[in-house]
Symmetry: C3
Subunit: 269 residues, 3 copies
């Protein structure tokens, strides 16, 4: 049987010793664990990015993986730490909603426990670094076989976080950029399915002040430097500059509005 | 027997969920695999950097390592995906030439197969993310024992990519910067061997508009802040500022011309 | 028994093939090893950061971990390479003092050996990349069971590096910023214990030219955007902007002076 898998997702960056200390504590608790870095460069305290990130990575992991997430604007407040079971994926997260979009996307009823048994934490819990003092040792214990219900009581309510919801009507899709990837591609919240269905009736696509004139099914249909709209790997509409940086070129970022205007079926020119 | 090793090299960055999703899919296919990050911060779609990177890292790995490389300006076009055997190193790469300099450096005849058996891919292959939908699951299957010939037919031709070749004559070496490392050191394509042979006859070294007056065998011969030429760890001439950033100081980057002018053996002053 | 753990800490960045080549050589020497990235983004050649980093990460690892550290302004000089045993943690480091604060913090007498047996290195040791040619193969051999005394003679003296020491008096604490983390939090060298003892008598906190008016025990006591002083996870005073970047806002960096002025016990207003 392969050693247990624990993934790490933080906004710590890697120039500081924080990620390293967390890895040390997990391994000190269970030297057998296999650690997988998901990201340590999420934008600081940015729940929107974290939510998008988890929704588009966690479901791909094997059953039984434990995902430790420390994007935690509430460190040092009394926000809870939750252990969340989503079918076969388990998460250890701050109670700030970073995981609720993921749960909706996976369409599973979460089983949630609130950490109260501090005996699974380090003896002294600092007020600034719960990653090292609580998340890491608890993750280690879970990987050793501790069951969620041993960590604390089940809870039925928690902080919910929702990514912005688009408005889809017969002649207009209204949404926004919800994530900008490292290439500068703009991932929107407009559903790819609606886009494909309306593909031949698109009149105009607008990102902030800028028009995007080309719609394609794959990058291969467009030329170097062209600005195109297509379906992203997350299943929503993406606006991209072929081998370029759409975010820089359009001055767009998370939150920038995106509109797709359609011809009605009968007025198409 | 240790678990199979798969290395990952991409230009994805780590703020997006792309690397994480790839890791998930590899592990979902073969939970036993050991994943090694080589880099996720190669410059986007930059074949020159990727080519240099692979040539100077892949040969150091143990026999049987599988290297997954997704620097892929052609995603969404009909460029092929290749499985390449170079003696004991195996690569899974887009057919864009990123690996051909490596093959020449290793001086082995490559055995190349083109991926056509999509049953080793994820059921739906998106047009924007072959890393997750093709490379990762195929890598997982290879690590489980699938043989390259099961992936598709052998091929005898592929896209070739060559790093720029220097011109070496009796009194002049003409080359260019082919890679700038994170320290700002300028790695050129001028052969270190020629440099060392001519070491006592060097009249002038020029990087773009700037002269480099000092040639050394190791950094230890120079002082803090001095600009020096010496043999890089890649075996070619490197121009570096001792504990500084030569790229910033000389305004040089990949492509900047580099000249070394020699005295003839008999005209040395 | 789990496979041996080797951690890697460098200032190489990850756009160059240097980290990848080191990983390859370690695994080529011992394919069984488990590699853990601590950081590859330490500021180039910055012993202060490296010293702080090691002191706040190494002690959390399980017994028997080998930590390979290549922050090495002296590469290409005749500085030695040391194998250092600190109780149950082992380090392979350049002899530049990066580890001596750690040893003091762990309060253990180090056992130090100087690498002279080049048969444990790669056959040709380049003058620019000891990470690949000496550190990595020696680490591999140590993980295979080679004993430190086989690497070379024990030594009783080495380069010492000390982080700046604060001055603590009855009415004034004088220190400085010794580390800025990726959030922009300012970690000082002022002891948290003294800060907490004097907590109710603090008259004024100054970072460079700027006053910090709020002292808290946890972030939860302050509001978004407030600038606060509290005890850091390293046990010293930290100055932070709640969910913001104190370094940017105060223009402070490593070396910026920090003062805490106290009321005397009897003159408190």
């Amino acid at each position: 049987m392969p050693a247990p898998l624990i993934t790490l997702t933080t906004d710590f960056g890697t120039a500081s010793p924080y990620v390293a200390a967390m890895k040390g504590v997990v391994l000190q608790t269970n030297p057998d664990v296999r650690l997988i870095d998901l990201s340590h460069s999420l934008p600081p305290q940015d729940l929107r990015s974290c939510s998008f990130f988890l929704r588009n990575s966690v479901p791909y992991f094997p059953d039984g993986t434990l995902h430790v997430v420390v994007v935690d604007p509430g460190v040092g407040t009394d926000r809870a730490i939750l252990c969340v079971d989503l079918d076969k994926q388990r998460l250890l997260v701050p109670d700030n909603g970073c995981w609720t979009e993921l749960a909706r996307a996976m369409a599973v009823k979460p089983e949630v426990v609130k950490l109260t048994e501090t005996r699974f934490c380090r003896p002294f819990i600092s007020s600034t670094f719960h990653g090292r003092d609580a998340f890491a040792p608890v993750a280690g214990h879970l990987s050793l076989g501790v069951r969620p219900h041993e960590l604390g009581p089940p809870v039925e309510s928690w902080v919910d976080f929702t990514l912005p919801v688009p408005r889809i009507s017969a002649k207009l899709f209204e949404g926004e950029v919800i994530f900008v990837d490292d290439f500068g591609n703009l991932i929107t919240n407009l559903p790819g399915e609606s886009f494909l269905k309306a593909f031949d009736r698109i009149l105009k696509i607008q990102v902030g002040e800028h028009a995007v004139t080309r719609t394609v099914r794959t990058y291969g249909e467009a030329s170097l430097g062209e600005m195109v709209a297509l379906v992203s790997s997350a299943g929503t509409v993406e606006v991209a500059e072929v081998q370029g940086n759409a975010s820089h070129r359009l001055g767009a970022q998370a939150g920038t509005p995106v509109y797709i205007q359609l011809y009605a079926a009968d007025e198409r020119g």
